[in-house]
Structure formats: structure tokens, C-alpha cells
Symmetry: C2
């Protein structure tokens, strides 16, 4: 699951031109190389991406389906603009779906041994030093592993696919802002709570408490969601989050 969580320079070693162009273009959009609402002309992208129109067109189509671009009625695409509320909703939907994964995992658990990977994730989080800034990235990786394993235990390919289609629109703020943008003292508190949530979810699945697992996973995502608002306050820092440039900053909009 290498879903664009970070502006990884993984765009270089793609097998096909198309894949490379898709990754590059996505990176450019998330980095803010274009203004929201700006129309993307194929021919202007051809020299910047180093490929012909065919892969570029394919990439545009792909990103439009991901939701980063929106098709124009007269043809072509433009950069989509998001309100903070859109990201808020994306995280909510993601939480709902991950909650469903947790519930199905509980309902469909057959062998307690299947929980070993989740438990390993908990131990891995435990070992992290929350005062160490470098461990934040490691936490993100562990969290992704946890969610991925949750999807596997849910035993529903369609659910996993649906989750993936939403994750791209959360702009990685959900995970990175859980720990990344807090003060060191607050960060260690948040880390503790996050660990507790992970443990509780595993416990709920183990005892086949589907509703409890679902609610926990939902509420966990809302922790990230609340942090989004706070992270958005610190505009200087927020600029570095991938995709932040696509978000229209309201002047005085409080929560909805």
C-alpha cells in the first residue's frame, strides 16, 4: 500500500510511462504546482512530464476519477478546489469505512492467530519514542500496516477498494496530523491515546464485538479529524502538507 501518503519520489522507477506520468502529475498537483480551478491543457503538460499526449491523457482521466481533477463540460479537466469541509467529510467517510472493516473483521474472525499481525503493530507502536520526531514517520507506516491488515481480516475486496478510493482525498493529513503537528508533550499524550485505540480495536475484534470495534475505529479517525482543524490553524506549517494548496482557506468559517 504505497498510496500517496507522502510526496515520495517513487515516481522515478515506474515500469510504464503511464504509471510514471500518473505519479508525477499527482505529485505536482498535490505539491501545488497549479492553482485550484486552473485548467490543465494536455499540451502544456507534455513537455513538463516528458511523455506524449497519450499517457498524459490517461493520467488526467485517472486523477479525475481519484477526485483531484474535475472534468469540464466542454472537455478537458481543471484542478479541483476543496473546502476544509470536504476534507473533513473525506476523513469521516474513511473512518466509517475503516469502522466497517473493523466490524467485519470481528464478525468474520475464525482463528485467533489471525490477530497476530495486528498485535505486532501494537507492540511496534509501543516501542516508539514519541519524543523522537523521526518516529512519527514510522508510526505512520505502522498505522498503514494496521489498516491494511484490518482490510485483510474484513475479507472483502470491495470494501478495501472503496477505502482506497477515499484515502487519496484525505491528503495524508489524517495520519500525519495525528502526531506530526503537535508539541512534544502533547504528542506523547496523543501517541498514548492512539496506542490505546489500537489495542482496544484488537481486543474488540478478538471478542467478536463488532459494534464496539466499529465505533472505536470511527472515533479514532475523528481524533485525526479534530487535529486537522488545529493543524490548519498553523498555516505556515500546513503549507507543507501535500495537497494543502488545493484547500480553500475560509476567512472565518468555524466548524460546520
Amino acid at each position: 500500500m504505497d498510496d500517496a501518503s507522502f510526496p515520495t519520489a517513487g515516481a522515478a522507477d515506474a515500469t510504464s510511462q503511464t504509471e510514471r506520468v500518473i505519479a508525477s502529475l499527482r505529485e505536482m498537483v498535490l505539491r501545488g504546482d497549479f492553482r485550484p480551478g486552473e485548467r490543465l491543457a494536455e499540451l502544456t503538460l507534455v513537455p513538463r512530464l516528458g511523455a506524449s499526449r497519450t499517457p498524459v491523457r490517461l493520467a488526467l482521466d485517472r486523477l479525475a476519477h481519484e477526485g483531484l481533477l474535475e472534468p469540464l463540460p466542454s472537455g478537458g479537466f481543471r484542478i479541483r478546489e476543496f473546502a476544509i469541509a470536504d476534507i473533513w467529510d473525506a476523513i469521516e467517510v474513511r473512518g466509517v469505512l475503516e469502522g466497517t472493516a473493523a466490524r467485519l473483521a470481528a464478525e468474520r474472525l475464525t482463528d485467533a492467530d489471525d490477530l497476530s499481525r495486528l498485535q505486532q503493530c501494537c507492540r511496534d507502536i509501543e516501542r516508539l519514542d514519541s519524543s523522537n520526531a523521526a518516529d512519527v514517520a514510522r508510526y505512520v507506516e505502522i498505522h498503514d500496516r494496521f489498516q491494511e491488515e484490518l482490510g485483510r481480516l474484513a475479507k472483502s475486496d470491495i470494501l478495501v477498494r472503496t477505502i482506497e478510493s477515499v484515502v487519496g482525498l484525505t491528503f495524508a493529513v489524517s495520519v500525519s496530523s495525528v502526531l506530526g503537528d503537535a508539541e512534544s508533550s502533547e504528542r506523547s499524550q496523543t501517541a498514548l491515546i492512539a496506542l490505546e485505540y489500537h489495542r482496544a480495536i484488537v481486543d474488540a475484534i478478538e471478542h467478536r464485538q463488532g459494534t464496539r470495534a466499529e465505533d472505536l475505529a470511527r472515533e479514532y479517525s475523528r481524533m485525526a479529524r479534530r487535529n486537522l482543524v488545529r493543524a490548519a490553524q498553523d498555516k505556515e506549517r500546513f503549507r507543507h502538507v501535500p495537497g494543502a494548496s488545493l484547500i480553500r482557506m475560509p476567512a472565518g468559517h468555524s466548524s460546520r
Copy 2:
């Protein structure tokens, strides 16, 4: 080569070639013109769809994203095969998401007048004659209107988009099998219950009972889901449901 067999029955009036090809190909896949697992070669589709490789390729990419096809590691695509469990899960996910729409509609309701369209849907259902087979199609239309309005009241573009991405994989069995495949007497009972669900959901939204609205919408989708299994028993009738040919039937009529 019989030109008369063009699949342009319902996809005749498309603006662009690509749209027409996408619609035609989707229709062909759902109708069962290909066997599950069969590889789709672009060049074999070109004469059948009456367009060059470019739109055909675009259409293949699109259907793959919709989940009807799956990409092969060596390139190209093949018809995806579904288990009954996959459809079951798709309806579950759809129910979860529509439940979320109902909950958000309740949480975000500002003006009671916004419920007028939902109430109109209830009245429309009320007027239907459940013994009239033609009214079944009308019920499906009203149900779609209801869900569409629910999405509008949820005020979340991302949620609506996510729902749309799943609806395609429910193969219309969720709605049509609610009423379509039952005996007349049973059908009128089911119609009554469906009406009650719609009313209850509106009532819950009106009183801002988010959780109740969510649970009701979920359980309503499960009614359709249960009927799916029963509908699948009647294999003769089930063959006519679009997409049924993509579903791998379990050997015999064993399962419960």
C-alpha cells in the same frame, strides 16, 4: 460479420465516441457477452464496438476502475468474476454509506422544508399498487430519487461520489430484488415494510436522530441483501438480472 448485432441499443445517443463505447462495453459485460475470467483483447473489441483502439482502451480503463474488469500484471484486462459474497459485501458497503448519508442529513438539517422531497417520495410509494407488476419499476425510480435526495441533504460531495463508486457493483439486484422477484402476496408485504422504512428514515432525520437514521438505512439495505440470496435461488429468473453472468454460482443449491 453481421453488422446488425451492434450493441447500440441503449447507448445510441452519446455525445462522444468514448462515452458511447464505455456504455456499450459496460452493457455487453453486464449482459454476459463475455465469460468471467476471459481476457479482453483490444483489437477484438474494435470491430464489435465500431471505434478505434483509443476510445476502446479508455473504456477498458474506466470499467477496470469501476470494478467490472481487473487489470492483468502483464497488461490488458480480463472480466472479473464475482462470488455471491462479493455482491453481498457490495450491498453491505452501500448500506453503510447510505446510512452515513442519512445520519449526516439528520445532523446537518437546517430547514424542515428541505424534507419535502423525501416526503413526496413517501407519498409516491404510498400511491403505488403493489399488486401491479409495472409499478415495481416505478418503485425503483422513486427509491433512486429518495437516495439521491438523501445524498443532497448529506451535503457531502465526497460521500455521494463514494456511494456512486459502489452502486455499480450491486448490479441493481439490491433494488429490483426488493420487490421484483417475490410472489404477489409477499410483494405487497415487502412494499409495506419498505414504505415504513422510508417514513421512519424521514422521521428520524426530521428529529435529528442521526444514529437512528443511520441504522434504519443500513437495515433497509439488508432487506434487499437478504432478498438477493432468495432471488439467486430462482436461477432461471436470475439470469436476466444485469451482471448475473459475472457471478460464480455455488455448486448446487446447498448453502442454507
